[in-house]
Subunit: 359 residues, 4 copies
């Protein structure tokens, strides 16, 4: 028996990604689709007519599902026990809507940034901080929720440096300082995102709000739980410069890193990366990449076109490890921003929650 | 009376840039074109038939000039007194060919990297180190040259951070550490450069040899002359990560900088940049931008499409000055790589040499 | 004394093009800028803050002009005698707004399609049907206008085949059938236009409404005036297939043409094109290209990057004339869609009207 | 027992495509790889080091195979019975090399154009002219070959209009005239193909030799065998205009077609396309698309990004069927040029030959 799941914000770009990832999932089954009032009452294929952005055709199983109004929480009750949230509203509206769904017993897994700084909501990259799901006990207790919960995935800009850094931290090499410059893909901006005119023969060295998220969210993910709240790790300093480049999918991070005290040798770093496995691999979660970190020896990799789809878009590919003349080391990381960095990352969280009995 | 100039490597991409910049120059007049033996003997328009890469049509004045063999130095003697070198050969061949031209009395101004580490050859960005032309006296004396000389321009990847940094250094703020990530345009690779297949929906986080040049050449430019040789400035540490992006012209640099001791306030930095003028402006060199550093207040500038042509492609545009969480400040610089960064930078050097009586 | 002109829709992309073209015009002087109520009351640079799309910076002369509300016709009265219209509204609203301005004595020159099928409004490409301005006498008489008038430019997709075809028609070679496939630039869709995601590694073989305009408008331009109305030329059949390609500016047309009876020889066609001059050249209109039709011998021209800016973007570049195995001949035409095809074409119309004493 | 196959030209782009398609094939097994003398003697992964262009990693099964010299025919004897040819040499060299391999008993299936006009060599699109393999009997008899044979696939520009046209012809609607404008992808030019500089913000309205191939090859494919030779179908006239666009894979064809006498209704055409099946489907060839012609109702399809991979890149996607004002109908076709149009098309031919007992 598969777990019945719902998607709110199902007609948007991230929602469509969820539909693609969940339409054939071994553990989950799409049982509920909701979106804005404009879409409500229409069949899914009508609601997204002319704006289905996935490269694959819409799965037949969802074509004729009638889309509900995502604002009416009651609609979802009894239809599903897990709710993937990709609604596009203002922050406060999302915060309260997601909380209301959770209060009614649904496990809400969100790609939105609204709850990322909520003190009892975990921001999860399952390979890094799976144990942060322990906060859900506090979350439920304080809020008086029974089965409901909220867990969120971080911003799509950070996975390509967070996983490589974490592997080294876990191996005992504390990271002190990070300067990262990202070259981010268009799909990270949602649809329609940047105008083609602006991105032809051009790059834009700015993405609103992205640098702040890229600097702060890691310190929560690397943080610890204390008294039912997250304490951020303020021992790591991160400086991020975010650029938009004319690439469809796949964020690149050019990283310089300084270790707190001792530093590993180059060969050791590569070994650590190549042998890195964590909770998702141990639990054999369906969406978990067999090899979460792929290190490539070719001098000009990773590249978006060639590496974004590694392990169904769930691996982070690393390359070009070399010394840095200012900090200790430099490397390049890459991940698929709408898979590992968004919908895929959220599905992996839901799988973790289920494997751990929280769903 | 204009000074007669020649171009060797005249049929290549940089050579064509020289032709474009010099065909209507107030001080210089193209009197000699040379290239490989295959082109020798052909009229210029025949020699570049099917591979004229400039957006403007070939100037009528050079169309019918007969191209000489660049390997036969004698050809140039009596035809011109300044020789712009854009030959594409192996390093040793260029080193000796350029030296031979100089030994025969020609002032050689080169875009090649061959002589950049020669101890008595200045690597010039005229706004920064115009006084390095003093070495030419030593160069001539040691080598027994009378009127000949060699001066070269640096790699095209560094102008967008070197000028902003220099303006601050000159104002008394010593720079200690720099981490720079570049997003470099296709034309920096010459023609044909990267394959369109590789650059479609892609960026490549590697450019062969570029990071080394971007880290070392600045220390020569910031260095000093001692006993007829250059002493590199080893007090500044630079770490460069170079990426190729699908942009025709215009290199971007995302820069983090740390000052040695005291640091200027944000407003002061912008004032320093906006009021920066140096030798080329004081000497009113024809190719000198009126404002070598343009600071833009818009949050998403500079951008290649919109800023590369500022001041006929000779200005460096800067933007996004803000604090860095790891070093002191961050900013974005941009310059036109084939104009300021290559042929235009070389023409500016020749103008400086002439204004200073060395030509 | 320059003629005072106004621009309505001044903040949009075409409006910005008008600002660029008119800010330094020998005959016209921008005296009035109007846009939607949201922009009204702001200075021009405030009204377009963050959405100035021209590659050149905003001209200083318009920066501080206060933008009026384009819906309030009275605002313009006394400020200007010519009004360039680039408003973006629904068709009926534009039709009546432009008529009202004209009824109040302004010469309205519009880039909009609203009045293109109005029976007494000329659709002008001045090199082709300058004599169609004769209808303005009827227009004024019937509508009771004194000095006011409306003249419009055609859709931006047709100039690259209309000019070459017209040159041949005028030389006595009646054209019977035309099959044209266009490869149209992004800027033809206005701003923001297509999403960068959709245009990365892609072309879209459809542009809404474009094929119909490309087939019908030519027959009005080739038509004649009879009883104060236009009679369309139904002796020419045009089939258009319109594609959107990832190019910033510059529409390409791949054309196959059949002549009604006798056909010219290849050499004659090229001669006709190269020697083609018409009213704008004879009247020496300021925006008129010296050579309206440029035929290039290179086998791979015209290309958008290399040819769109010919004659300040006002020439049509033609190439690849060869026999067609189905109709008579094939060729490729190219023009700059926002200059010759939009704002530049409208300015040329205004210049024609002034030269002919109608302004 | 799988049939052992070899690939000559295995290190080039088409050769790599063959490796990808054949490394996991149900009927064929790669047993032999050959390339130029420079590659000979190296392991395959060494021979293509730094120039593996497939998005997927090199299959493990071929990594360590030693590459032979393709010029030494003897090398292949005993190693394989089918030889896929993707060598890049001059036409005469290919013609004789492929003939020699065939004379030694190998079934040569080639993507090269060298043998396309050889009178007894079939140019095959298996859905259209599978019965042309009957010529192989004549080929063997005349040339004295026992088991050897040569069969070739046509140019990659024609599949997207040939399949839709053929479906209609087979249904009894003789086609008289075709005007086709193609928008062809970069990979059609091989590697490196066009320079990224030339293809940035640009399209090129010319591809050398492509229009001739696109006009003539169809008439052989639609032709018939008579006295052991092909008689071309001269009752169909085709005019092709070929453009290069900045798309990685996927050729588009904008087609206008005129029927000889009676013409089908729109609905009938779509029905014919949607129900079209031919020999590869009936024989259930492994690479045969289940549905060779996919008609999409969306107004803006087919598009390269969204449709090229349909049926593993072996289907032709059609859309936008509508009347033509000059001929009868217009439509847009699209196919994956390196799969259906090159290596995939050749593998399908080999499968047909095997199913028919010729291999």
């Amino acid at each position: 028996m598969k777990v019945k799941v719902g998607i709110i914000g199902a007609t948007g770009m991230v929602g469509q990604n969820f539909v693609g990832l969940l339409s054939n999932h071994p553990w989950f089954e799409i049982a509920y689709l909701a979106a804005s009032p404009t879409s409500a009452g229409k069949r899914y294929h009508e609601a997204v007519a002319g704006r289905w952005h996935m490269l694959q055709d819409m799965p037949g199983t969802v074509r004729d599902m009638v889309v509900a109004d995502a604002n009416i929480v009651q609609n979802a009750i009894g239809k599903c026990s897990v709710l993937f949230s990709a609604v596009e509203m203002d922050k406060n509206a999302i915060t309260s809507l997601e909380s209301e769904y959770a209060s009614r017993g649904l496990a809400v897994v969100s790609t939105n940034s609204a709850h990322r700084y909520t003190e009892d909501v975990p921001v999860l990259i399952p390979e890094i901080n799976a144990e942060h799901i322990a906060i859900i006990k506090d979350q439920r207790r304080k809020r008086g929720w029974d089965k409901g919960l909220i867990a969120v995935k971080p911003n799509c800009s950070i996975q390509s440096y967070m996983l490589p850094l974490w592997a080294l931290i876990r191996a005992g090499y504390k990271v002190d300082k990070v300067i990262v410059t990202t070259l981010q893909a268009l799909s990270g901006a949602g649809y329609p995102g940047p105008s083609a005119i602006d991105m032809t023969d051009n790059v834009i060295p700015y993405i609103g709000g992205e640098e702040e998220k890229s600097e702060i969210e890691p310190t929560k993910i690397f943080g610890r739980i204390q008294d039912g709240k997250f304490v951020y790790d303020d021992t790591i300093q991160i400086s991020a410069h975010c650029n938009r480049v004319p690439v469809s999918d796949g964020h690149i991070a050019c990283v310089s890193v300084k270790f707190a005290s001792r530093r590993p040798a180059t060969k050791e770093i590569i070994d650590i990366w190549r042998s890195f496995k964590a909770a998702p691999q141990e639990l054999e979660l369906p969406s978990a990449p067999q090899q979460p970190l792929i290190y490539r020896d070719e001098i000009d990799r990773p590249q978006p076109r060639k590496d974004r789809d590694a392990e169904n878009g769930m691996a982070v590919t690393v390359g070009r490890l070399r010394e840095c003349k200012v900090l200790d080391y430099r490397f390049v990381g890459l991940h698929h921003n709408t898979l590992r960095g968004a919908a895929g990352g959220a599905v992996l969280i839901a799988e973790l929650l289920k494997a751990k009995g929280l769903i």
